[in-house]
Symmetry: D2
């Protein structure tokens, strides 16, 4: 008799194929679920493979459009960046994948979900917090945290042997000496030889972006149009070509960014579990959007609103990184950030070239930029004398402080 | 009889030369003070010019070393960046310049100081808050805020006429159709034709950095060594060449960054007085340092310390931008940030290429990175089962929230 | 010929009566505007007085209900408190008063507004920022900042003489040796003998609250019911009496708090212009609401949402204090806070006694409090073993830090 | 053969006595450690009891002075308060107790520590994070999280039976229907009948403070003198009596606060593990100090420094509550806060009466309060005209915002 039904987040690769079979061995009915979030994959082959391994059902779900609209767009609005550098391409995919997994679990009356994330990483947390938040009674099977599993499969060799024994097709190309995670937003590289933080990334690592050295010798100039803080159109200025659905816009920006080697970073970051890890990321389209959005936002948003919004964005990035997309605080913060974007509208022109994004100019019907007011050539509605009072009053506190400190400071 | 003595922040250019003469006309004794903070200038010629215009004394002060050590270094420690993009090259020079101006005023028993900053900008505030903070009784003459002055000199033509009439040498090369401010850290460009935020910057604008298109086709690889959050050595990895005094290090990074077109930005920013303005900046060495410091800091600093330090750095950047370097709060924040940098030590390797800085690797005797702990291949002192409890407890709140909201969310 | 029409914020007292006459002397048509925001005043007499002094029109406006609903309620939602102590009773009244003043100015085609606030205080800023925000072209006449006015009226004696000369009725009772500002929310006392921060407040100062020493010897127990973070009903538990409109609720809480001496504070605060000043405040109803709202909010709001909301509340309090009610940032923050209050609903029982508010108990249909989960007697849906993992993972970072620091710390 | 040596945090009560015996049963050598942090306890009797139960050694440690100086004082400096209400009396004792426990473990070569904290509470975390931070290799035995233990001792009855069976003296007075934790700083009450958040606290609950209704009918007036943000002397103004060591000062404030019923609160709070719990606390001396310190701090500290310090204080309170006293971030924040307190010096007069603390006045040699500057009667070094410019410049942004929004707002 079955112990119950498990919806397994299945990737088509060696690990989750072994997990599929192992779960069956353990007495579960297994539903394999594979999300298409833009990674390179032969989804048909993966489906057949899962079926051949004994999956009760297989779900291949194309989540690309909702991934862009419901997950990447809010991150763009938030200028979400973790520890000043990481654009959160893996983090933002996890709640999207796990949400559908839970929907399938509900629909198929499964009490269990399972995944192949490791026990030291962030992804286990992101998957599971989403699951618990959306399906509090769910039971989670995380084999890489179960001693019987991880003690049995200590290295890749053990998995290979198990695969052979159970008729699981074994990859013919040797595994790269690092691990990698790809989706529409980015590819991340970590582990293996990358664990030494001093070693440089090998030349052939990157798959989404050309090396800046090999990138074209002249820039492409793009115009991105925003409304409510999200892109609604991207145009190649010279070619006149344009895209206007979320998925097309994002894919086109990936193509442009990829061609010019945009969005590569090599960082050490702090995981939620308290370790530092080294990660290498390439986020071509996301990097372009980060810069373009920053520009149109500063152009159209009041300074003080932006200061507050920025603080919320920093918190949002931490929540996202730590796996709290589906939490009351993250829902609250998304609501607030969305509100802040009401007037974030207009067009940004930029060029991409040799790994870099250059903002060239911007325009907006909702800009708070007032060319006359700021002009050095005309006065506008501004009396320079007011600045004297402004400065004097701002100095009240400083002068008091100095007087009371004695006058030692100016004498250094 | 003299109305008193004024120490004038004199640049050698047309504006402050006219102000010098005008102040004399108004009955003041004028001491001309010209700070060398790394701008291109013929300081001898400027001195002679000031003397010929009737300055009672002329001070030419080389502040470059103290500018780097006392002002730029704390900004590097703070990762000071305004509105996510501007590295504050102008802002950080102002307190350095004004501090010496006040020292001269004290030494020369001058009751007045004067400057040529405009009435719509930030610099007037940065100069004057420093002056009031260090010399509370000082009186400030800001001609561009005095109606008799600014109504008399409405355009550049009026200044030229005045100059000719008073024997002030008139520049022979025509003025660029924008204004520019240069120091060791950066050059800023604004006003004139740049006031239209949509117009692209003209090709020949930049003076400190090569165009990325014309930059070398292969990168330079540098190693920067940090101690207490400031660089103590920079080495060109291939050439073996190195620099190890603050001024030499910073100048060399400027040279390297300049050669590769690093550090150009085009932004709209929010001035302290409440206007948005468009500024174009090039900060070659500062940009390299910003990235390198970020990397070594994340590598060596505890996650939560850094989170707090980052918040302080954001505040520091705002204070710096707004002119509050000499304020109790900025002194407090600098102290705290300095404390946070005690273990920020180690070496970062990076390449500069075609406008971009790429971090390649890092090492440190004080790193909190633990290669064994984070490894996917060995367990280290870590039990993956702990993560289950960690996640479950983090989910307590989320599950409660979901239960009490009803289960509508997972059903969308 | 008239210089134009001024809407004067008129209080009925000596100062603004003199200003009214002085404005007429200066050639303006004066419209007197007196807002009823709950202060003790003979409004009819004030009206007659203004008319007799030559006001072109007199507006007496009862703003009490909108003051409570549109200004006090959002402050309650925000737990708005300045520098940890001051409940902002004066600050919150200013935008309410000035908004109507601007509405009258628009309606009466007046280009000017005027007020009697002094040149060192916060109120001038609060009034004027509201005016500029809602009527950017308005011209403001602030006599206490005009040298011809303030040099003419150096002390109260000068005003008295002027009043006598111009037929302005002079107050018969001697002025208290401090100034006072009253509205529905509070009375503030400052200046005069209170300027010495060491001197204790005189016994007879307070007018809204009984001295705790003279207050009843037994408490009154109240139940306040909240919905969306604002009180919708207050009930006297023993007497069964209840109130359910905003103005009635607030007035009743004032009565109860006043009877028991609740809400007196004596503080030194930091004004927006950079001075420290001493203020004494009594805020009976506001103090009760502050405590009750805090209780129901913590009971019903998720911990992390509240942490973010609290940060926004601190910012809101600063904006309110500094006069930025009508600003893009304050509108944004009010929106966010309002959103956070959606589930802040339920009943709080409290007692007021001898100057203090004691929370006794609370209940709510939307509470996140789970009696079974938290119980020490039953397990609930909670596995204590999870806590071990939670703690171990939280310790990862601390253990790393210790190891790398060496073990000197535990040996102190 | 012994499994090793355990240092058990022993309270002398039923639970930890049973744990002591149980640990022996399990094969450990047990060292009993009882910290005197000011709770009511017969320490000699407790010692004899532990010895009679088979403890290898018994340590009774008087930590009261270091508890005040090293733990309470920094909390006073920080104005540490959790969720706006709780003064953290339990939280602050935990690292103090656990530090000595670890020192004993090191000194006695014990590899294990143990405690009797429950599996749903905060204290387990506070104890254990301290232990791991100071002794990373330590092994922790938390019986209330070990199924064999907690399944055996489901209720108090099971403990009583076990006690009888093993010769553990059983308490003769019946246990109160709630649990309680006492130290020098406060007593907390929770669990049992208090778990219903609607029920009022029973009348006889409080042990450290008199009921305000029974408190004296006239106040006591105290003067507290601070230096570097901590009290150095307290004087009873009428009686002339004073105290000047940390422990004496704090004890005397407890006595005074206790006599007048000061410091009682009844709250629902958010535990670190994500539950809401109801707690009742009485913190007499701590409440007085909180108010007095707040007053002298605002009097002597620059506004903007305080704003930053306040943010740090909020973070400090969260760290303290969550058990992170010994963490890199808490050490950093304590350092920063300590720095901020350098000028927090002077005397505060206050009265305690019927449950309330009233600040009466303050004086300081380091105050930034300038009586002349703020005076309404004299001008001081202040030009009211400056305020016009200050306001106008602050309005620039607001006017722009309004103009660009259209003028709909003032027309509501």
């Amino acid at each position: 008799m079955s112990k119950g039904t498990v919806v397994l987040a299945y990737s088509g690769g060696l690990d989750t194929s072994c997990i599929l079979v192992w779960l069956k061995e353990e007495g579960y009915d297994v539903i394999a679920y594979l999300a298409n979030i833009g990674q390179e994959e032969d989804f048909d082959a993966a489906k057949k493979k899962a079926e051949s391994l004994g999956a009760k059902k297989v779900f291949i779900e194309d989540l690309r459009a909702e991934f862009v609209e419901e997950f990447i767009w809010p991150s763009v609005q938030a200028s979400a960046i973790y520890e000043d550098r990481y654009l959160l391409g893996t983090s933002v995919a996890r709640p999207c994948i796990a949400r559908r997994q839970i929907q399938i679990a509900h629909q198929e009356d499964a009490q269990y979900v399972s995944h192949g994330a490791t026990g030291k990483g962030n992804d286990q947390i992101r998957f599971e917090l989403t699951c618990y938040a959306l399906y509090p009674e769910v039971k989670i099977i995380a084999p890489w945290r179960i001693p019987e599993f991880y003690n049995r499969f200590v290295g890749r060799k053990d998995l290979m042997e198990y695969a052979e024994k159970h008729g699981i097709p074994v990859p013919v190309t040797p595994k790269a000496p690092w691990s990698m995670d790809a989706n529409l937003m980015h590819i991340s590289y970590e582990s293996g030889i990358l664990e030494n933080p001093k070693s440089h990334a090998p030349a052939g690592l990157y798959q989404m972006t050309k090396s800046p050295e090999d990138a074209p010798n002249s820039p492409d100039v793009l115009e991105i149009e925003f409304k409510k803080g999200v892109p609604i159109k991207v145009t190649h200025v010279k070619e006149g070509k344009s895209k206007d659905t979320p998925l097309d816009i994002f894919s086109y920006l990936n193509e442009m960014g990829g061609r010019h080697g945009v969005g590569r970073i090599d960082i050490v970051e702090n995981r939620f579990i308290g370790m530092k890890s080294r990660g290498i990321y390439e986020t071509p389209g996301g990097t372009i959007l980060y810069h373009a959005h920053l520009d149109i936002e500063t152009f159209t948003m009041d300074r003080e609103v932006r200061r507050i919004k920025r603080g919320l964005g920093v918190k949002f990035a931490e929540m996202l990184y730590n796996g709290f997309w589906y939490s009351p605080e993250c829902e609250f913060v998304r609501h607030c950030i969305d509100k802040s974007q009401e007037s974030v509208e207009g067009k940004v022109q930029l060029s991409v070239f040799k790994g870099q994004v250059y903002i060239l100019g911007r325009e907006s019907p909702k800009s708070l930029y007032n060319e006359e007011l700021v002009s050095m050539d005309v006065q506008g509605d501004y009396d320079p004398c007011d600045a004297s009072g402004f400065i004097k009053i701002n100095a009240v506190r400083l002068r008091e402080h100095h007087r009371l400190q004695g006058e030692h400071r100016s004498k250094h």
